[in-house]
Amino acid sequence: MGSINLNQVTKSFGDTQVIPPLDLDINEGEFVVFVGPSGCGKSTLLRLIAGLEDTTSGHISIDGQDATQLAPAKRGLAMVFQSYALYPHMSVRKNIAFPMRMAKMDQATQDAKIEAAAKALNLTDYLDRKPGQLSGGQRQRVAIGRAIVREPAAFLFDEPLSNLDAALRVGMRLEIMELHKKLETTMIYVTHDQVEAMTMADKIVVLQAGVIEQVGSPLELYHAPRNKFVAGFIGSPKMNLIDGAEAAKHNAATIGIRPEHLTVSKTEGLWKGRVGVAEHLGSDTFIHVHDTGLMDMMTVRITGDIEAKHGDTIYLTPLADQIHRFDAAGLRIA
């Protein structure tokens, strides 16, 4: 249960094609993350799978069955929305019960499932409250509870954590991952946050302008980005991309070097620059280096704390085996 295949799926709004023909296979039990900048079509893609938008052409099949024309309710998928989308006039209990009530499940089964879900999500004490009386994190858990009780073929998450504050987000991220390990159900998760993508996914789908730029495991994307876009998008801080003569030395139009793959020295090194802002995180230090003559601003990531004053001269040397090379079209040179 829970394999989803997209075959030549397109979507247009009026004359604007937001998703050009697209193929994608999601295997049973996978945690797939759609990631990309805002407006890249990741949410639209999720809504197409959910059935909340109609495909303009192409086919979507769920567990081998053609679901292209099926109503959302008939697809056996559950969705968790960014705004939680709880029913404000219903108690938590009724919110969680709603999909079961729609499925005309008998009351005893409903009660048992609500109890189980509430226990798993720490909501037992809140079952009789209205969503308005809950905190953001609790609302999110209710939304997840409502999704779980359906026992869906797959869960769809549409940026579920972006309304939560940073601390809560990390906690909920772990909870969702735990849930996936426990249920082993397919999950499709949309986010613009590449850290969420990297930490949660079995498989990341990087999208830009409706086009899949790369599909792969987080580490595949990190170590071997297929093109410049993926290289710049995955990894934090961003990969430094250098054009021109320095790239030509490596027989490439562009070379990329991640901030953590640069060594720093105050006395000698391959590239010379001037320290701009240094961000001290304690465990790491990010130094933004100007005037290297290679690119506007180069970012370096050093483990631990390092003394770096604004305006200091600094030398950077890339690790030779960590240089990514791209051709004029922006594609990776193997």
Partner: protein
């Protein structure tokens, strides 16, 4: 920045507001007073204000001369009936306009509103012919349907503005949860829009209650509501101001009381959801 309001300004505004309010209220007050005067006192010049012989004879006369309970019953049935029929039709209409708008939705909304600008008398003749042909002249069902049609644009518009405030994601969530269209409207949309629906119902009951043009023209005896009841006292045999006033008071009393108790919902209704 909070605007500084001086005591003087406050005073001026208070006086202005009260003046305006009393001016608006004056006709009702005058009708009320006149209804307790004798016919002679009612037309005396200069007018008498409070110091006249208060009498209930007009109310008794009105009761004797006509069938108030029947007119009241007709008013209630027609006002409530047309409003609920309108709601029944307008909820799905407003749902589709608010949540699945098409290319022409805005145009349709404006066109619906534009029908309110048509002089009612313009469709009087065809409507009367149609009613006669169907054999429903002077029937409650005719008035229910006609008043429903007349107020439908307002009902749709009001519900549309209320529905627009409801986040579409919640309805989408219900679709994902397995709700069909009926369940979505019945269990999710309607309960969430209930305050809005309530103000729409109230306002439209009042509009239907006060509708005089159609009720007077399309009824004679059987279906005549309170508006026709009032009109029957401005008879050609002479003006009986005191009796007319008594009849008016009796006609507007129920709706005044209702309006008084539902002020909050009404204000929300009248502002079309602009304030919460």
């Amino acid at each position: 920045m909070a605007r500084a309001i001086t005591t003087k300004q406050k005073l001026i505004w208070t006086v202005l507001a009260w003046t305006f309010g009393l001016l608006m209220f004056f006709p009702i007050l005058w009708t009320f007073l006149t209804s307790f005067k004798t016919e002679a006192a009612a037309i005396s010049d200069p007018p008498v204000w409070l110091f006249f012989d208060w009498t209930f004879e007009n109310y008794t006369a009105v009761q004797e001369r006509s069938n108030y309970p029947k007119a009241l019953m007709n008013s209630i049935i027609i006002a409530v009936g047309s409003t609920f029929l309108g709601i029944l039709i307008a909820v799905p209409a407003a749902w589709s306009m608010a949540f699945v708008p098409g290319k022409r939705t805005k145009d349709i909304l404006l066109w619906m509103l534009s029908t309110k600008m048509l002089p009612a008398v313009g469709v009087l003749y065809p409507l009367v012919l149609l009613a006669k042909w169907l054999g429903v002249m002077d029937s409650r069902i005719l008035l229910i349907v006609v008043l429903m049609l007349i107020n439908l644009p307002i009902i749709v518009w009001m519900l549309y503005t209320y529905f627009k405030e409801i986040p579409g994601e919640i309805l989408e969530a219900s679709r994902m949860d397995g709700a069909d269209l009926r369940a979505e409207i019945l269990y999710v949309l309607t309960p969430m829009a209930l305050p809005g629906i309530a103000s729409t119902v109230l306002l439209n009951i009042i509009l239907a209650w006060n509708e005089a043009f159609w009720t007077i023209l399309l009824t004679t005896v059987n279906a005549a509501p309170l508006t026709a009841f009032i009109a029957s006292f401005s008879a050609p045999e002479g003006l009986f101001y005191a009796k007319l006033s008594a009849a008016s008071m009796m006609a507007i009393a129920p709706i005044l009381v209702m309006g008084w108790f539902s002020q909050k919902q009404l204000v929300r209704g009248l502002t079309f959801g602009a304030v919460k």
